[in-house]
């Protein structure tokens, strides 16, 4: 494998003024080419089908959280579609211009995302990514449950487990909004589980969490 990355970093100063070096431009070329492999020829974006194909090549299920992380890295705006710009941004940042390099970049990506400072950004991103229409501000309960599992399931398994059960059981709320979504993360980070001893319903927790805690305590 050519150490193209090193070469580009050492010459990036020069590159800023003198234009892309050959190594870098080659990288961009390869990235673009890779894009074309998956993109739909008429719309020139990678559509859900293309993403599925990408995933199978990466040997990662397309519901895997790493794809979501990749979307975040790319700054994807629309769920299920990668534009060329987004593709370029992501892969450049990961310094990957081939499937194998991309695959190898995953572990580092996961580490990067789970760092608290990045996670604070990734978490709401995941919510916004799932909003299906322009004006919509909420996601449906089943979708929210899936997403919770995906995004928080590993770090906070017991809480997420109980929370998902509750969300499915209750019928007061049919959708989750951003405020409630952010509340879930705060809850997992701040509240002792399963004791719940430091949960104070007088502090402005979203009502859905007050009800969740009450439901837990009754059991």
């Amino acid at each position: 494998m050519r150490r193209s990355s090193k070469k580009s970093s050492s010459s990036s100063a020069a590159a800023a003024t003198a234009g892309p070096t050959r190594g870098v431009s080659k990288e961009i070329e390869r990235i673009d080419q890779l894009f074309c492999t998956y993109a739909d020829s008429s719309s020139s974006v990678i559509d859900p089908e293309g993403i599925e194909m990408l995933c199978s090549h990466l040997e990662v299920p397309h519901t895997d959280v790493r794809i979501l992380m990749l979307a975040w890295k790319m700054g994807c705006e629309k769920q299920g579609y990668f534009t060329l710009d987004e593709w370029r941004t992501g892969l450049k940042a990961l310094r990957a211009d081939s499937i194998s390099k991309l695959k190898k970049a995953f572990p580092e990506l996961v580490q990067e995302v789970t760092r608290p400072s990045n996670f604070q950004d990734f978490y709401p991103y995941a919510f916004r990514y799932c909003l299906t229409e322009d004006k919509k501000k909420c996601i449906e309960i089943p979708v929210a449950c899936e997403l919770l599992n995906l995004v928080l399931g590993l770090q906070f398994h017991p809480q997420v487990d109980k929370l998902i059960n509750y969300l499915k059981y209750q019928n007061e709320y049919k959708v989750i909004n951003m405020d409630q979504w952010m509340g879930f993360l705060r809850f997992c980070n701040e509240i002792n589980f399963p004791s719940l001893d430091n949960y104070d319903s007088d502090l402005a927790w979203p009502l859905i969490l007050d009800n969740f805690v009450e439901w837990l305590r009754e059991k």
Partner: protein, 731 residues
């Protein structure tokens, strides 16, 4: 004399060149000694004051002051000791008298002795700071006589014994008592206090401790308090008659403690005769006594208040939660009003209108009236009843009084917005059916509500009155304007402004052709004079007078619009099935069933006959014109739209509407508060919102939280990024 001289000129006393007679002192003293004896023997008249004075004067001048003083002390001591012994021999009751007499004597003697020794008093004694003669005399009396072991105890015991006898009902020699205590007071405040007052108070304490125990075992509360009042008066009188003024407060304090404080709980809570029973039986005299007596005692009034409060709360709670009582709303409210009257009277008569008691009563009423969430509805029904039927035998003032009293209950309501909803409904029914007895009373009620709750509350209600007035005018000009046949039915239209009236929009049913004619004429007329308006017939609300003939007799039926539509069908046929009627009239199913029931199933009003004869209306029923209908009255009223207690489903519906109405009010309050505060924490918002809305209803913190979250979603507010408890207003 030169002014420069600074030294004060000295005047030397004239020095007598007298020979110093060694026996001078003794001779002089003998004179004085004899004189003193004579004085004590009541033989002073034979003495020469001037000579004695001069004798003493000379002694002091010749520097014999000290000796003279000592001799005086010795003389007095001796005399008093002797007197003591004879006093100790005095028998029984004479003891006090003897003491009295001797004391008088001593006082008089002292005066004379002092006068004689005045010079010594003024010079020698003052210079050497010795006790002046008179005071000396008193001190010696105190130490030798009063505090002599035998006399001291006997004096005290005698005094206490007499007081005890007087307490038990005997008459004693008060003059003697007064003189004795005065003597002690003259001897010095500490003498009076230590030698009489203190033991007196201690003895009294045990006396009243015992007596109060006896009384409380055998008396009921009222009797006991009477006795206490008597004893207090007695002790006060006794103290004023023969004790120092300050003792009065102390002894009454003892009585209050022993008889009232210690037994306070037991008295107030005494079964069958305590405070609660007095309140129930309106025992005003006993209550006044209790109030006045317990005023003197720490926590007396607060204990009475708290017992009264729990009693009122309890009886009130029983009243409002009794399912029997809930069957008749008017009676329910009347009972509450009666309760209020009863307690108002008690507080005014027995508790001298004490504001703290009035407040306690108010908070008790507020507590239990809100235990029943139908209270707002019932109060409205009560007012409805009164405005409909008038207050029995009442003139204008009485009606005002009744309404004022109802307003007092209204003030206790936490859910005033629920009341508003019902009041509107009931008022609408009254106005539309023309069933109110007094327009003034209606207006007066509105004014009261406006004063209590502000313009917002009553603006729509006033709109209703205005609509009716305007409708009257409109009808007049309509009939003045139309030409053509006046044979058809006459209509009277009430035009209601949507939004002012609590009407449910309903699709109009099919009116009989006789009616559609004139009603269309009216519609045309109205829309001709009022541009851009839309009229919708509210067929669920009108009424009609129909002339009908049954078995040859003519009657006039007063029915609802729906009933009219149904009945007019029978002009063209004698019998119709349910479905036919439904189709022809297009009256909604539930209403139609009620309507048919009222026409066919009610005894005395069955202008229709139903087959089968069951009480319930079902699809397969057939209805016939009942030619056998009879009634004693020519005018028969069938089905008026009277305000009634709501059924369960209606109640749920109203409640739901109230809850829905509250949401925007809560949101408006939140936005108002956040707009002015900009940033505020969660608990403060809850408090502020509750406060702002409390004149209309008690806001639920959970409901407020929900509204906050909704406002966050709609981006009126946001959570602070650092402190999640804080909310920020988004302009």
């Amino acid at each position: 004399m030169s002014s420069q001289k600074k030294r004060a000129t000295k005047v030397e006393p004239l020095k007598h060149r007298t020979d110093v007679d060694p026996k001078f002192f003794d001779k002089s003293w003998k004179k004085l000694d004899d004189a003193i004896r004579e004085i004590y023997n009541h033989n002073a008249s034979g003495l020469s004051f001037e000579e004695l004075y001069r004798t003493a004067y000379n002694l002091v001048l010749h520097k014999h002051g000290m000796k003279l003083y000592d001799k005086l002390v010795e003389k007095l001591k001796g005399h008093l000791e002797e007197m003591c012994r004879s006093l100790e021999d005095a028998q029984g009751c004479l003891f006090l008298e003897e003491l009295q007499i001797r004391w008088d004597d001593h006082n008089k003697a002292l005066q004379m002795i002092r006068d004689i020794l005045m010079y010594m008093d003024r010079t020698f004694i003052t210079t050497l700071k010795k006790t002046p003669v008179f005071d000396l005399g008193l001190e010696l009396w105190r130490d030798i006589v009063v505090r002599s072991p035998k006399i001291h105890g006997r004096l005290l015991d005698t005094l206490l014994e007499l007081i005890n006898r007087e307490r038990m009902g005997d008459v004693i020699n008060r003059g003697l008592m007064r003189n004795s205590t005065k003597m002690l007071m003259d001897l010095g405040p500490s003498v009076y206090r230590d030698d009489f007052e203190k033991p007196f108070l201690e003895v009294s304490e045990s006396f009243y401790s015992v007596e109060s125990q006896q009384f409380i075992e055998c008396c009921d509360c009222g009797e006991y308090l009477e006795k206490v009042q008597k004893r207090l008066a007695e002790e006060l009188e006794r103290a004023s008659q023969y004790m120092d003024a300050k003792t009065a407060d102390k002894i009454t304090g003892v009585v209050e403690t022993e008889m009232l404080s210690i037994h306070m709980q037991r008295l107030i809570l005494m079964e069958n005769s305590g405070l609660v029973n007095m309140l129930i039986d309106d025992k005003h005299e006993d209550l006044t006594r209790m109030y006045n007596l317990f005023k003197r005692v720490p926590d007396g009034h607060s204990t009475i208040r708290s017992v009264m409060t729990s009693h009122v709360k309890e009886t009130g709670k029983a009243l409002v939660t009794d399912p029997e009582r809930l069957k008749d709303p008017v009676d329910f409210i009347q009972r509450l009003l009666n309760e209020k009257d009863k307690y108002d009277k008690t507080i005014s008569v027995s508790f001298s209108n004490d504001k703290t008691f009035q407040n306690a009563l108010n908070s008790s009423f507020e507590y239990f009236i809100n235990l029943n969430n139908r209270s707002p509805e019932f109060i409205s029904l009560y007012v409805d009843d009164k405005l409909r039927k008038g207050v029995k035998g009442a003139n204008e003032e009485d009606v005002e009084t009744v309404l004022d009293k109802v307003m007092m209950l209204f003030r206790y309501l936490q859910e005033k917005d629920v009341f508003e909803k019902y009041y509107k409904q009931h008022l609408a029914k009254r106005l539309l059916s023309g069933k109110t007895t007094s327009d003034e009373a209606e207006r007066s009620m509105l004014v009261k509500l406006k004063t209590e709750c502000g313009y917002q509350f009553t603006s729509k209600l006033e709109g209703m009155f205005t609509d009716l007035k305007t409708s009257q005018d409109t009808m007049q000009s309509f009939y003045a304007n139309i030409s053509g046949d006046t044979d058809g039915p006459t209509i009277s239209v009430q035009i209601l402004t949507t939004g002012s009236w609590p009407t449910q929009p309903c699709a109009p049913c099919n009116l009989p052709p006789e009616i559609t004619d004139i009603s269309e004429k009216f519609r045309a007329y109205y829309l001709g004079t009022h541009n851009g308006r839309r009229l919708t017939w509210q067929t669920n609300m009108g009424n009609a007078d129909i002339k009908a003939t049954f078995a040859g007799r003519r009657h006039e039926l007063n029915v609802s619009t729906y009933q009219m539509c149904v009945l007019m069908l029978f002009n063209s046929t004698d019998g119709m099935t349910y479905s036919d009627i439904e189709q022809a009239t297009a009256i909604p199913r539930a209403e139609l069933k009620r309507c048919l029931q009222s026409l066919a199933c009610v005894k005395g009003k069955n202008v229709l006959r139903k087959e089968p004869m069951s009480k319930d209306i079902s699809q397969g029923d057939t209805f016939y014109y009942n030619d056998k209908f009879t009634s004693k009255l020519v005018k028969v009223k069938i089905g008026t739209v009277v305000a009634q207690k709501e059924t369960e489903p209606e109640k749920m519906e109203t409640r739901q509407r109230v809850e829905e109405d509250r949401k925007p009010q809560i949101e408006a309050a939140i936005v108002r508060i956040m707009k002015s505060r900009r940033v505020l924490d969660h608990n403060s918002i809850i408090t502020e919102v509750t406060k702002q809305l409390q004149s209309r209803f008690l806001a639920n913190p959970v409901a407020i939280k929900k509204r906050i979250e909704s406002l966050i979603e709609r981006e009126f507010l946001e959570r602070d990024k650092v402190d999640r408890k804080m909310y920020r207003y988004l302009a």
